[in-house]
Symmetry: C2
Amino acid sequence: MKVLVVGANGQIGHQVVEKLKDKGHDPVAMVRKEEQTEKFKEKGIETVLGNLQEDFSHAFEGVDTVVFAAGSGGDTGADMTIIIDQEGAIESMENAKDAGVRHFIIVSSMGADTPKEYDDIKHYLYAKHRADEHLKASGLDYTIIRPGMLENESGTGKVSLSEENQEFGNVQREDVASVIVQAVDAGKAENKVYTLLEGDTPVEDLFK
Amino acid sequence: MKVLVVGANGQIGHQVVEKLKDKGHDPVAMVRKEEQTEKFKEKGIETVLGNLQEDFSHAFEGVDTVVFAAGSGGDTGADMTIIIDQEGAIESMENAKDAGVRHFIIVSSMGADTPKEYDDIKHYLYAKHRADEHLKASGLDYTIIRPGMLENESGTGKVSLSEENQEFGNVQREDVASVIVQAVDAGKAENKVYTLLEGDTPVEDLFK
């Protein structure tokens, strides 16, 4: 399965790429800069250069599944939230449709269904919400994963994944990556919206 | 014709309200604060309090046409561009649909069809683009008006309004307001996207 990871240089994205490779998939790491390709090439992982602010449709040729894990991050302004998190995602969906991609997995955020309830991050949640809504209406098979507060410790291999909302909590980025990889070839994960937190269910038992 | 003007305290909005009244329509000025109602009430114009960041669906009851002329303005951050220009507009459309409104007129911007071509205002144009796209897909009869650079001198009563793109230029806010009022009861303005600049066509000759 050829899987394009958009945002492969990010904290979740690079773990998705490596776990896909470990599991025998055929990941393609899309990164913005030439120097970001090296760490993937060293591991025999295919890379493609693509900038979300330019035309990056070439990256989608022959791809079966797209994982959108890009984000403008906390150090940039809300203008980049629109440009990357919202519009980079929406253009990725359009590129995927044009290229005949079947399945599109997006890293969203808990709260993206109810942005009005939040203050400081309201604009971020609206951008995530708008991208998610575009995906649901796109005709692509979609998996929308809405993690809680992201943490950087090692993954536990166990999570709480639910189609219902869950009380807000934390989850390790590595576990988010593992859930995405588990979803890549899981028919049951298609056309679903999940919240994701740390929990008790082994990742390999999901989508059964 | 009962016409709800969202953003009635704004530079275009308040002129739309007054021109609607002068033309014999029944405008309702939606403003955020009680003290903003006085200047309308003095002229016998109906007002309704509504905050785009809260629930403002009550404002749409019995309304035939909505004019969305709200904007977060140049003094706020891009977070407010998402919250007001994009999401305030989209929620207005949803409120309009729920209330059985027939016609929705929005003040967009030249460049909203090609945000990538711009630099400093790219995020703003994406937000306007996303709102426009939502309106086109909403099922409401729509009129999308994309003015050029807005100026504050008196209106000339003459414009260049086109369904084609036009070379970028200026237009007086008062003339934008006049075009909107002309569009309110013009069947030919429905389900159209226009660019708008200063020009030679008398506003009263539009949509014939």
